[in-house]
Structure formats: structure tokens, C-alpha cells
């Protein structure tokens, strides 16, 4: 058994498999990859997988899981079998993501200025102006390049017919990009023979591109702007990524206590005294950024920062108040938002979504609860969602009550049979569901990192890929 190739006995059934791609035209690179996987003994894959896991732990490439009162450092499990995207597929994804980011930025500029889209009745006024993430401090303020969402992570899934669908826009402070690069490095360390002579797009440019965008949005007239990365600190669950990005950009990794607003400008405390700061790539939520503007009890932020920003003394990425654009309820309007601003059809479709705030949506959701996925609009990380087809009667009944108590808090979607990828499991290589989060950087223009973060639900049949819910990740290969 142990000498069997990795794909021996692997059967994705009727699900769309990103590796085998039944019914798609043959591709030379994919054929070669299949052959190599076929020749790779599963024992060898297991050994390398153990090496990779030890390596991740030793490198401290970890995230922190919070449940009740405990915090545990865990590695994000890494599955060595790559997820593959062809050049043609990538073209669709890249242009679809770019289109979406353009629309998100135009939408944000509009709702914080004239609100034309609201006046024209394309998006309900209440949904935007009454949204908890709508930020008064942004009204009538125009950030440099009119860019609000400098870093965007768009969650994309693929259904059983192979169609790409957008599941969620992450326009606040999306995380995960460090894993994209680290996963590639890991592949090159432990499984480089699989990639030899295949032309796979590089992911090493991210830090350079990010720094370039941060320089582009710096306040005008500064030739060599000082960029910093603002982190909540070493106990934040994404701290590893903050370190990674600061290193890749070659800029200081600061906390709120290292910055000060004085004389209308923003400064960092250095060994030589105060030094000017021009662009802040912040990985701190809106609420914590500035105790003067938002939560007065925040110890993590910088007093007076928002005021300095509005006066143009410093630039902040992402802008505050972008959460209104990635809200799960606003999401349902994205195809219309794209059409409104760009006069184009959405290249990437939405999952058919019903808002339970609307009576028809609620009635439909209650009637079809057992076949739907229901999500709270304000939660992320896969918390508090119901997967109808996998729920027991008791769970359905319980959820029905929660839904009725606060319908506006929920949206519902049909259950999509996510595409799968061969994944190393305890009982061999099995099909496991995956998604994709490409990362788009926008300064003057938008650039999309080839590939993105592929997350994989490691439990059999599970559709939840979130790292906090037992998900892992894979290296994502975009073929040239």
C-alpha cells in the first residue's frame, strides 16, 4: 500500500476536482503534474508532510485561537498537494477581482460624498447609512488616488459545474497573504521535485508591490515617503503576518505607542527622537485606531490620527469605513453596484443571496432552512453560521428561533458543492473542499497577486475552510 502513488484510489465522485478536471481540455503541465503525483509514493508524501509541519512549528508560523478564556498557538495545517489554476482561469479571476475592487472603491467614494447610488435607488439608503460600519469621519473626505480599499481579499469558490462564484469581499484588513508566500517557500523546501520545470507564476513580488502602492498614496510632495506597518502587537493572532509584511516591505513594524501626532503631523519614536511618518499600513481595526475618533478606551491606537489623516498629513491604508462595502448584506447588491459604476456585467458572479431583513427573504429562508447556508451578517471566521443540510432537527429548530428573533442579522444562500482538491488525510489522499482568496493591491492601479490563499476544509464533507474551524491551506499554483 505504502508504495502506491498519491492519486491511487483517489475519487472525487461528482464534485469538481481542481486537479483532475474531468471534461476539460488536456493541459501539458497538468498532465506532467498528474504523472509526478502518480509516481510519488504516499509514504514519501507523508514523510515530507511531517517535515513541513515540524518546520512550521520551529519557524513559529502560527496563529492564535481564542475560545473562552484560553489562547493557543497553532500552526495552520499545510497540505502539500498544490491547488492548480490554469493561465486561462487566472485571466478570468484576475480581471474579475480587479473589476470588483474598482467598483468597491467607486462605491465607497460615492457613499461618502454625493450618494448618487442611494439617490438612484440602486442600493437601499438604510442599508448603507444605517450600517454599523458606515463612518461619519469619512464623509466628504477624499483619500489620495480616491483609493479606499488598498488591500482587498476576495473569497471565491467554485461550484460543481466549475463556475467561480464570489462568496465574500474582505475590504477591511484582510489577512492570509503571508501564508501564500510561506506555502510556496515550503513547497520549494520539501517538494521541489514536483514543481521542477513547470512554469508556475512567482508570488515573491507582494512586498515590493505593497510598498510601491503605499508610496503612491503618500501625501503629495514627498519623494521618499516613510511607510510603517501598524500592528496591535505580539499577542495578535495575525502577528506573524504583520512581521512578514513589515520585512517584505522593509519598513518598521510599529504599535500605537510608537506613534504620536504632534503639530498636525504623525511621528514615530526612534532612537534619534521623533521621525516623520507618511503612510500607515494598519492592521488594526477601525474602532481601535484613534481614541479621539472611535473607542475612547483603546490603548492600541494613536490619539489624533484620524484628524491628521483628514488634514492630509498622513495616509492610512485601508481607509476607515470600508466595512460598509464588504458587509454581507451589501454584498448581495455587488452585481448591481458593478453595473452602476462601470457599465459592465460582473465577471465573477455572486452566490445567490437572500437578505432575511426583507420579508420574502425571511419567509423563503425559514421554509428552506434545511437546504440553505445561513450566515450572520456581522460575523466573520465562520462563526455562528448554519449549514442546513448538515444540521440536526434540534439544531434547525434552535436556529429558526434565533433567525426569527433578529432576521436583519442574517442572509441565506443555497448550499454550494464546493470544488475539491486531493488532500493528504489519515486514511489516504481524499477529496476535500477548497476555496480561494486572491489578494489585490491598489495604489494608483490594481495589481493582483497570482493565485492567492487556498484554504481547505480538512474534515471529510466539511464546507467550512476557516482556520479557526479546522481548516488548512495549500500552495496555489498559477500556471503560465
Amino acid at each position: 500500500m505504502g508504495q502506491d502513488g498519491v492519486l491511487a484510489g483517489y475519487d472525487p465522485g461528482a464534485l469538481f476536482c481542481e486537479m483532475l478536471r474531468p471534461g476539460q481540455p488536456p493541459d501539458a503541465a497538468l498532465t506532467l503534474l498528474h504523472q509526478r503525483l502518480g509516481d510519488l509514493p504516499i509514504d514519501s508524501l507523508r514523510r515530507r508532510s511531517a517535515d513541513a509541519e515540524r518546520d512550521l512549528l520551529e519557524r513559529g508560523i502560527t496563529f492564535t485561537v481564542y475560545s473562552d478564556a484560553t489562547a493557543i498557538d497553532r500552526i495552520l495545517p499545510f497540505d502539500l498537494i498544490p491547488r492548480v489554476i490554469t493561465a486561462e482561469e487566472w485571466h478570468t479571476l484576475e480581471s474579475g477581482v480587479t473589476q470588483r475592487v474598482r467598483a468597491l472603491n467607486l462605491f465607497l467614494h460615492d457613499i461618502y460624498h454625493d450618494g448618487k447610488i442611494l439617490k438612484d435607488g440602486v442600493v437601499p439608503r438604510e442599508l448603507v447609512l444605517g450600517n454599523a460600519a458606515y463612518c461619519q469621519a469619512m464623509v466628504d473626505f477624499t483619500p489620495p488616488q480616491k483609493t479606499y480599499v488598498h488591500v482587498c481579499g476576495i473569497d471565491i469558490i467554485r461550484d460543481d459545474s466549475g463556475r467561480y462564484l464570489v462568496l465574500e469581499d474582505n475590504a477591511r484588513t484582510p489577512s492570509g497573504v503571508a501564508y501564500v508566500v510561506e506555502n510556496r517557500h515550503m513547497t520549494l523546501r520539501v517538494l521541489s521535485d514536483l514543481m521542477a520545470k513547470l512554469r508556475v507564476r512567482s508570488v515573491d513580488e507582494y512586498g515590493l508591490r505593497l510598498h510601491q502602492a503605499m508610496a503612491e498614496i503618500a501625501p503629495g510632495g514627498i519623494s521618499d515617503p516613510q511607510v510603517v506597518l501598524l500592528s496591535p502587537g505580539i499577542f495578535n493572532s495575525a502577528y506573524f503576518e504583520h512581521v512578514f509584511l513589515a520585512r517584505e516591505m522593509g519598513v518598521p513594524l510599529v504599535e500605537g505607542q510608537d506613534l504620536i501626532v504632534e503639530g498636525g503631523a504623525v511621528w514615530m519614536r526612534t532612537t534619534a527622537g521623533l521621525a516623520p511618518v507618511h503612510t500607515i499600513y494598519r492592521r488594526l481595526n477601525d474602532d481601535f485606531l484613534d481614541p479621539d475618533a472611535f473607542r475612547p478606551d483603546s490603548q492600541l491606537g494613536v490619539r489624533g490620527l484620524i484628524d491628521a489623516w483628514r488634514r492630509g498629513a498622513v495616509s492610512i491604508a485601508n481607509a476607515v469605513g470600508t466595512g460598509v462595502a464588504d458587509d454581507k448584506a451589501v454584498y448581495a447588491y455587488m452585481p448591481r453596484i458593478i453595473r452602476y459604476y462601470l457599465g459592465e456585467d460582473a465577471i465573477l458572479q455572486n452566490v445567490d443571496t437572500r437578505s432575511c431583513a426583507e420579508p420574502e427573504g425571511l419567509a423563503y429562508t425559514l421554509a428552506h432552512l434545511h437546504e440553505l447556508v445561513v450566515k450572520p451578517v456581522a460575523e466573520s471566521g465562520g462563526y455562528g453560521l448554519l449549514i442546513g443540510p448538515h444540521a440536526s432537527h434540534a439544531e434547525l429548530d434552535e436556529f429558526r428561533e434565533k433567525l426569527k428573533a433578529n432576521p436583519a442579522n442574517y442572509i441565506s444562500q443555497p448550499m454550494i458543492k464546493l470544488s475539491v482538491s486531493p488532500t493528504l488525510c489519515d486514511d489516504g489522499v481524499k477529496p476535500r473542499h477548497i476555496d480561494l482568496r486572491p489578494f489585490a493591491i491598489t495604489g494608483r492601479d490594481t495589481w493582483v497577486l497570482p493565485g492567492g490563499l487556498t484554504r481547505v476544509a480538512l474534515r471529510a464533507g466539511s464546507l467550512v475552510v476557516n482556520s479557526s474551524q479546522g481548516g488548512g491551506s495549500k500552495d496555489t499554483w498559477v500556471l503560465e
Binding site: E58, I234, T271
Partner: protein, 331 residues
């Protein structure tokens, strides 16, 4: 290209402090391992526990130790310093603080440095009661010394030598200077009264020098035997000996001067003034004079001044609030 082309980058004050602390905690682990090892050897035939008591006293830990231990024997002291995570002076605490500092600095230190600290942390955290049996302690001490030495070597070979490195190196030299005075203090008073009879005490001199990794070099310098002034002079003043106070102070001087001249850090001035005083006090007296005036008092004064020097650097260059830093330095 002149060398000033490379010095434009700013260093966050807090990061400078973390670099200094990282080096101090790592050095502290190596020195604690040396002290434990040498005390254990001295204590072999000693039922009075005098050596363990003196180790606790030198580290200022007697009160904390006796709050939870009845007697200062080999096992209790080893447990206190090797396993007890609640004891802020244990290797468990030191590696925890070191790793935390390294985590703060992770964007500035090399990947190899971080990896080694992380693995070393895991190894120390995994120590159990079974590892610190009387037969096992030497092995643990060897592991600790080797771990820090790996760290030191990796740092030497991979740490980019900008401002951050200078702060790191200052931490190392402050800690070494401080620790050598403690090592001398631990053993010197015990040795002094009997020092006239060199033959009897050869073994103990031997161990003291070995603990400081200076035995063979000392033999080469002084092949005739052991004289207290020569041993003290070797450990304190000999700038060819890597762990001597004199060399550490000279290195500190170079780092501070470089930070002031090359990086224009005006905050170096108070530390430089204090260092100047420390160096003059060492240079202006012969060892015989120091011994005559009281070695222990002199070592105490040095330790206090080194603590104050650390505070000068932390408060004037690393952004630490004056009161908080003093408190931390005393713990």
C-alpha cells in the same frame, strides 16, 4: 559609496530596547548555567550548603527562594533556577522574555536567529524533574550553554549590523560585565581566607576559571600557579579574555561612540559619561589596591553602575519611562 550611505534608516526606540533585552536574557541563561555548574561542583562534598546559599545571595534571590523552599540543597536550587517559571530569575523566565523580545524584533533579526531561539525555547520548556537529578544537571547546563552559544554564533554570522545590532551588542556586554562581577563575588570571598595555601585550593581556582571559560588562557598567562590578585586581575581587567569586565566595557564604549558619531544619537551622552567613569575606576587602580580597599564593595559598586548605565540607555535612547525601567532592572 561611503559607509554613511547605509545609515539613514530609523530604529524604533522600543525595538532598540527589545534588542538590548534579548541579548541580556540570552547571556543570562549562559551565565546562570555556568554558575549552577560551578556551584554544583563546589558543593560536591559540602554538607553546609554554603555554596548554594552564596549563589542565591549573589543573585539576590534568597528571600524568594526560602519563601517556597526549606533548605538550599542541590535539587531545590536546580528546580528553582531550571524549572520554576514563576521565578523571574530562572532560565524558564529568561527564555520566555528572550523569545518575547525576539518576537517583537522578528522583522529585524534574521530568520535563523528566530528559528534557533524558538527551538531552544521549546527545549527549555520541555525540561522536567527527571532532567535535574544530581547526575543530570551538568548535562542540562551543557545544553543551555550550547544553546546560547549557537545563538551567539548565528547572531555573529547573520544579524545585519545596523543600529539594532549595536543595541543588541550593548545588552550582551552589560550583561557579561555584570555577570563576571557576580561570578567573582560568588567564589572569591569563599576562597580568600585560604588563598595563601595555593596547593590546597588549586582545584577550586581551577573550577572558578573553568566556569568563566578562562582556565587554559589563565594557565598560559600565569603558569606558576594561582595568586588571588592575578586571578581577579585576569577576570576583571584582562581585555584579551572575552568575558572580562574590562573588555566588555571597552566594547560598550565602541558601540556607544559609534551610535553617537555615525547615527547621531545624542541620547548616548549620559551613558557615555557614566561608562567613562566606570572605565577610569578600573584603569586607575591596580588589582592589589582594589583588593586592599575591598573587592566585594568594588564589585557591588560596579553592579550598581552597570544597572544605572542600562537605565541611561533605556530611558534616553529606547523610550522607556524612567520609573518603570528602574523597576524592571531590579527584578
Amino acid at each position: 559609496m561611503s559607509e554613511t550611505d547605509f545609515v539613514s534608516k530609523h530604529l524604533i526606540a522600543r525595538h532598540a530596547g527589545s534588542a538590548l533585552w534579548l541579548a541580556r536574557y540570552m547571556e543570562r541563561i549562559e551565565n546562570l548555567a555556568r554558575l549552577l555548574d560551578v556551584s554544583k561542583t563546589f558543593a560536591r562534598d559540602d554538607e553546609s550548603h554554603r555554596n548554594w546559599l552564596s549563589l542565591l545571595r549573589i543573585n539576590g534571590d534568597a528571600d524568594a527562594f526560602f519563601a517556597s523552599n526549606a533548605i538550599a540543597d542541590a535539587t531545590n536550587v536546580a528546580r528553582f533556577y531550571l524549572l520554576d517559571g514563576d521565578n523571574p530569575t530562572s532560565v524558564q523566565s529568561a527564555i520566555r522574555y528572550a523569545r518575547e523580545s525576539a518576537r517583537t524584533l522578528r522583522a529585524l533579526i534574521s530568520t535563523e536567529m528566530w528559528l534557533q531561539i524558538n527551538v531552544f525555547h521549546g527545549r527549555i520548556r520541555a525540561l522536567t524533574e527527571a532532567d535535574i537529578s544530581p547526575e543530570g544537571v551538568s548535562g542540562v547546563c551543557a545544553m543551555l550553554k550550547e544553546g546560547v552559544q549557537s545563538h551567539t554564533g548565528i547572531t555573529e554570522g547573520t544579524f545585519y549590523r545596523d543600529q539594532c545590532w549595536h543595541f543588541y551588542m550593548m545588552g550582551r556586554h552589560i550583561e557579561r560585565a555584570d555577570q563576571i562581577t557576580r561570578l567573582i563575588d560568588t567564589k572569591f570571598n569563599a576562597l580568600m581566607p585560604k588563598a595563601a595555601d595555593a596547593a590546597i585550593d588549586a582545584g577550586e581556582w581551577n573550577e572558578l576559571l573553568r566556569a568563566a571559560a578562562g582556565y587554559h588562557a589563565y594557565r598560559r598567562e600565569y603558569p606558576h600557579g594561582y595568586r588571588p590578585p592575578e586571578v581577579a586581575g585576569f577576570l576583571l581587567l584582562n581585555t584579551a579574555f572575552p568575558r572580562s569586565a574590562g573588555l566588555s566595557l571597552a566594547q560598550l564604549d565602541w558601540h556607544l561612540t559609534t551610535l553617537r558619531s555615525r547615527y547621531h544619537l545624542r541620547g548616548c551622552t549620559p551613558a557615555l559619561a557614566r561608562l567613562d567613569e566606570l572605565q577610569s575606576m578600573l584603569a586607575a587602580q591596580t588589582v592589589e589596591e582594589i583588593l586592599r580597599r575591598g573587592l566585594s564593595q568594588f564589585l557591588d559598586w560596579m553592579q550598581r553602575e552597570l544597572g544605572a548605565l542600562h537605565n541611561d540607555i533605556m530611558t534616553r535612547l529606547c523610550g522607556a519611562p524612567v520609573a518603570a525601567e528602574q523597576e524592571q532592572a531590579q527584578s
